[in-house]
Symmetry: C2
């Protein structure tokens, strides 16, 4: 059983796995090397190797945990938080603790052991985002969960332990600090200007253009002005929408399209970099206990988006301890470079093929 | 020339190196593999390979940039921020920017290419902390700098680019977000209770004891209740002191002693793990422009300390994007394990020598 602990200095929550072995090598299980195809539990025909499935899209008429699925959701075998139990809260002297209640699911993107979003056909990629939205909506019905995180780790340096393309979902009884900070900034901006902070930023970026990588009818992808790391990207719907749960089927298709585009550019331009991406959507306003008016303007001031962080640098040390980032690649240069790259599978990065004149 | 950019969503500052090459391979220079002894610019006899020295302790009577030093401070050859120039501030639409003014220094711990704090004699380790304090005091005299960061990266996975033992110093025209958060939490606690938050935590930890690794007359080292990562450690003076600049020579010796102890335990118990540590001291209250009363109670409510983070897990992905940490090793287990380790050079970790019964 794990627990959530609150740091009164940094005001952040941490999930502590208290029930695990106390040996210092005990965490190696979760951070093992990415496994090969021969024993991959996410490949078709090995459905028995995962816990019973939560949801799936199937083309044939097979039952749960049979082959023939295109997208499949299962509980994480080593969950950070568990779904069963009561949401107890207690004080420990100065500190605060919450029982490790939550959900931890894995969305297997397809039967192929390799590839992922950027290599699929558009309909399949759309189905992946459709499934993520469906799970988000379902988990939001549980009043114990304040927030539901959708994210993806690709490559071992980005924390992935299995190579088979998958997303993860963690539902938590608290709102993550980074999201809370965004909600507060957005609320502050809205109260002052009666405009969405994100809409303002999106409009300014589209007008300036020098940090934009891809612009479609419905979405924009740009390198943030204060990017923390090289080739960090921000993807958002161009028109105001506070929650990813509200995205229309057409919008999901547009999302799949732009994600295929930018992930393809990263793959081709930076030679399959490891990366993380995280959805920031609005929190579960139906969770208990309610805090009336805390983020009451939410429909107007928050704006869902995705942050992609390629893991190219060993930057997280000093930065991790101070919240102060040093980024050696200006976002304007990152965007300019990515715009030159062909995002299609097998498409080559134009600039990287030229001799660089450097060792 | 670099610049500081402010993110209006996360309210964090980022240093962007705008003057560097725009090629995507341009950041590889800074993140090159840790070099060997044969061409180490920090080894004695190669003083000409660094920029002219800023300060040094010498046993003989050699001049600056000659051999015979025991601790030596030089400007970083690839500084994140530059000392020359005016601290201009401007708006860029919604965004804020500050010129990349600051200081970036390297404190070479000693002539030995290997070893570092845990392997030195106590007097030498004390001299390293004495030098750090001296540089901190000096940089605080510059009214352009709001904050001076003292930190150490050890090992390539922790971001070190040179193996020769060294600390780094970065003086910034803004207070890093993590430090600002601590200052605010401490102030809030003080206004409510008229007690220092850190003193309260330290007293509670010493009383509880289960997370304490080492307790000396002047210092305590413990694994924080809400540790973000396995074997994270917090080291602080037991008696209230708001700034590291105020530490007495006796206290510096005490600091060297406990740092040798805990770094020795990490080295012996976890097989030379890469790690980062960061000093959190109070900001430069003499910097301009002054914000009266903002952190006016500082002498009472802040309490300097050091945070050590061994880099054992590939955790920084999802966590990095959300501020939500998952720690597979409970701090009580980490502390219990480290207490069993002999911190002396060559001292072996008792438990790790036993068979674990795991693959």
């Amino acid at each position: 059983m794990s627990e959530l602990r609150h740091d009164p200095i940094q005001k952040r929550w941490v999930i502590i796995a208290t029930g695990r072995s106390e040996r210092p090598d005990s965490f190696s299980v979760e951070y093992a090397d990415v496994g090969g195809e021969e024993d991959c539990p996410f490949c078709p025909g090995r459905e028995h190797m995962t816990p019973p499935e939560i949801a799936a899209y199937r083309e044939g008429d097979g039952g749960p945990d049979s082959e023939g699925w295109t997208v499949r959701v299962v509980p994480n075998k080593y969950p950070a938080l568990r779904i069963e139990g009561e949401l107890t809260r207690r004080g420990v002297g100065l500190y605060d603790q919450i029982a490790g209640i939550g959900a931890h699911e894995v969305v297997i993107e397809g039967p192929d052991h390799e590839g992922g979003i950027a290599g699929m056909d558009l309909a399949h990629a759309t189905a992946v985002y459709h499934m993520l939205q469906e799970r988000l909506r379902d988990l939001m019905l549980d009043g114990r969960f304040k927030y539901v995180l959708l994210f993806k780790n690709e490559g071992a340096p980005a924390g992935a332990t299995l190579a088979h393309p998958h997303h993860q979902i963690i539902a938590t009884p608290v709102t993550p600090k980074t999201v809370a900070m965004e909600l507060n900034s957005a609320k502050e901006h809205y109260l002052r200007k009666e405009r969405c902070l994100f809409c303002d930023i999106i409009n300014q970026e589209i007008e300036a253009g020098d940090r934009v990588v891809t612009l479609t009818d419905h979405f924009v992808a740009f390198a943030p002005y204060a990017s923390r790391s090289p080739f960090e990207l921000f993807i958002a719907p161009r028109h105001h929408q506070h929650s990813f749960t509200d995205a229309s089927p057409e919008s999901l298709r547009g999302l799949a399209e732009i994600m295929q585009d930018v992930l393809g550019r990263l793959r081709n331009g930076l030679d399959h970099p490891p990366f993380n991406y995280v959805f920031h959507s609005s929190p579960n306003t139906d969770s208990e206990p309610k805090r009336p008016n805390h983020w009451a303007t939410l429909k107007h001031d928050f704006h869902w988006h995705i942050e992609i962080v390629p893991r190219l640098t060993r930057m997280a040390g000093f930065e991790w301890g101070t919240g102060f980032y040093i980024n050696p690649t200006p976002p304007e240069a990152a965007a300019q470079f990515l715009r030159t790259i062909d995002p299609r599978p097998g498409g080559k990065g134009s600039s990287l093929d030229e001799p660089t004149g450097r060792e």
